[in-house]
């Protein structure tokens, strides 16, 4: 990252927030507002200890696998809906219904439906992320310029050429938006799913910290998740910038 791109205002805001927390921790019991050094020690323990790190990595793997599969199925479904109105007429109400069900309800349903913990968590991530990918892909497909479609058709491309040369590049920006939205949502949903019945994962560790009334540890685990989401957002942003490097950059 170049010096120019460092967000000094953002860093300052973060430092102010930390200073306020530390100030409050001095005048309140430590089980309510633990001092930063206590959280820092627990965070270091999580990252440096093989066993705890495995919990963090398991949760991240669950989120990423769930998201990648939701992305593949959801995007394909969205494109088919865009191409075939009859399929859209059938699938859209189902997806809208699924999207309307609260994530917590899906957790309860999944606990009853699936005994296997991994399957349960995977199902919850899939069912909550898939509609968003589908709708984004659908909207994006429908928004492809008629002018550009006609231009391509003059050359008589095959379906795969049409997809590679026009459709895929047209929908990429919206798919990145869907990824960014779903990343945060799926992280929250995965943790809730892990709270119920999982014996490995950040959700399970948060549940343990709660039962031990260990707020520094709960906050340290929370920070692990926040760092994961931020790192993933940066990775997505880099990937997006490299794929969409053709876009004009606004000067203001």
């Amino acid at each position: 990252m170049s010096i120019k791109k460092i967000n000094y205002k953002g860093i300052l805001a973060g430092l102010v927030l930390l200073a306020i927390w530390q100030g409050v921790s001095l005048v309140t019991p430590s089980y309510l507002f633990p001092p930063l050094q206590e959280i820092g020690v627990d965070l270091f323990y999580i990252i440096s200890n093989g066993e705890t790190l495995q919990h963090a990595l398991t949760t991240m793997a669950r989120i990423l696998v769930g998201l990648v599969i939701s992305f593949l199925i959801g995007t394909l479904l969205g494109l088919i809906m865009g191409m075939e109105d009859s399929i859209n007429d059938i699938v859209r109400p189902v997806l809208s219904f699924i999207q309307g069900v609260p994530a917590l309800s899906w957790v309860v349903i999944a606990v009853i439906w699936f005994q296997q913990v991994e399957l349960r968590i995977f199902f919850i991530i899939l069912i909550t992320a898939l509609p968003n990918f589908s709708f984004q892909a659908f909207d994006s497909y429908k928004a492809i310029s008629k002018d550009l479609r006609e231009m391509m058709l003059v050359f008589r491309p095959r379906s795969n050429q049409m997809f590679r040369m026009l459709i895929f590049p047209s929908i990429i920006p919206d798919l990145f938006t869907a990824w960014k939205v779903n990343l945060g949502n799926s992280t929250r949903v995965a943790i809730v799913a892990e709270l119920v019945g999982a014996t490995v994962g950040v959700g399970y560790q948060l549940s343990s910290a709660q039962s031990l009334f260990d707020l520094p540890m709960a906050l340290a685990w929370t920070l692990v998740l926040v760092i994961f989401v931020i790192v993933m957002q940066i990775v997505l942003g880099r990937f997006e910038n490299s794929l969409l490097s053709w876009r004009p950059k606004a000067e203001r």
């Binding site: 550009l148 058709l153 003059v154 050359f155 008589r156 040369m165 876009r247 004009p248």
Partner: protein, 246 residues
């Protein structure tokens, strides 16, 4: 005897009952001919082009391009048609060179080969050094040049042009028009272009088809190869008469 490149025989396109895009459209265009279609806005010129390109199906009548129905034999027209649209219609994620090579890529040419051909066309159109630029980095005239290169690079038999110079400033339009006519003649293509400008039609075409609502040819005017001011004015009046304007 020169073959017919394009034949429209009693062609109708009815979008909804009573709403005709074209009606009883009848005309022939010979191979190597340069024909202008003029007419008021909404008189069915673009519908005729869509029928010619095989993008829309005629309700009745027959469209033949190079002896085939462009709608029924859609895939047979790979590489046979080139089109320069009113706006450039460049893919924004592709460079000028990649845009010019779109048709060649569809035709299955390897990257090296298609880039060589596309680059030759860009050079002929004065875009040497601009091949790696994206459309947003090019001026309106440059973008339209890329779209001309894109149309010519597949070496089509027929080139269509839909008011392609109307959005450009007058000086650029005059220059591009001349280049376009030169390329059509030099490469022995059949050219059909839609224009609002009577001057442009007389300047570029061998023959002018005057369109009237609902999409039929009201008048056909042959443009002589040598035109003086008096003859020019006569032709202009004749065309305007066909459009019921004069």
């Amino acid at each position: 005897m020169t073959k017919d490149a394009i034949v429209f025989k009693n062609v109708c396109k009815e979008f909804s009952p009573g709403d005709f895009g074209v009606r009883d459209l009848d005309f022939q265009i010979k191979e190597g001919e340069m024909v202008a279609i003029v007419g008021k806005t909404g008189c069915g010129k673009s519908t005729a082009f869509n029928l010619l390109l095989g993008l829309t199906k005629p309700t009745s009548g027959q469209v033949k391009v190079d002896g085939l129905d462009p709608y029924q034999s859609f895939q047979e027209f790979k590489g046979k048609l080139g089109m320069v649209f009113q706006n450039d219609r460049l893919l924004p994620w592709r460079t000028a060179l990649e845009n010019a090579a779109i048709g060649l890529e569809v035709n299955g040419l390897k990257e090296k080969e298609r880039n060589k051909i596309a680059m030759e066309w860009l050079e002929r159109l004065g875009l040497s050094g601009w091949e790696d630029k994206f459309p947003h980095e090019l001026s309106g005239g440059m973008k339209q040049r890329v779209s001309i290169a894109r149309a010519f690079s597949v070496d089509p038999k027929i080139i269509l042009c839909d008011e392609s110079f109307s959005a450009l400033d007058e000086l650029t339009a005059i220059k591009l028009r001349k280049e376009f006519v030169h390329l059509i003649r030099e490469n022995n293509k059949t050219g059909v272009f839609i224009t609002h400008s009577i001057g442009e039609a007389i300047e570029m075409a061998d023959r002018v088809l005057v369109y009237k609502k609902p999409g039929h040819v009201a008048k056909e005017i042959t443009v002589p190869s040598e035109i003086d001011v008096k003859k020019m004015e006569e032709l202009r009046k004749n065309i305007l008469n066909g459009m019921d304007i004069a």
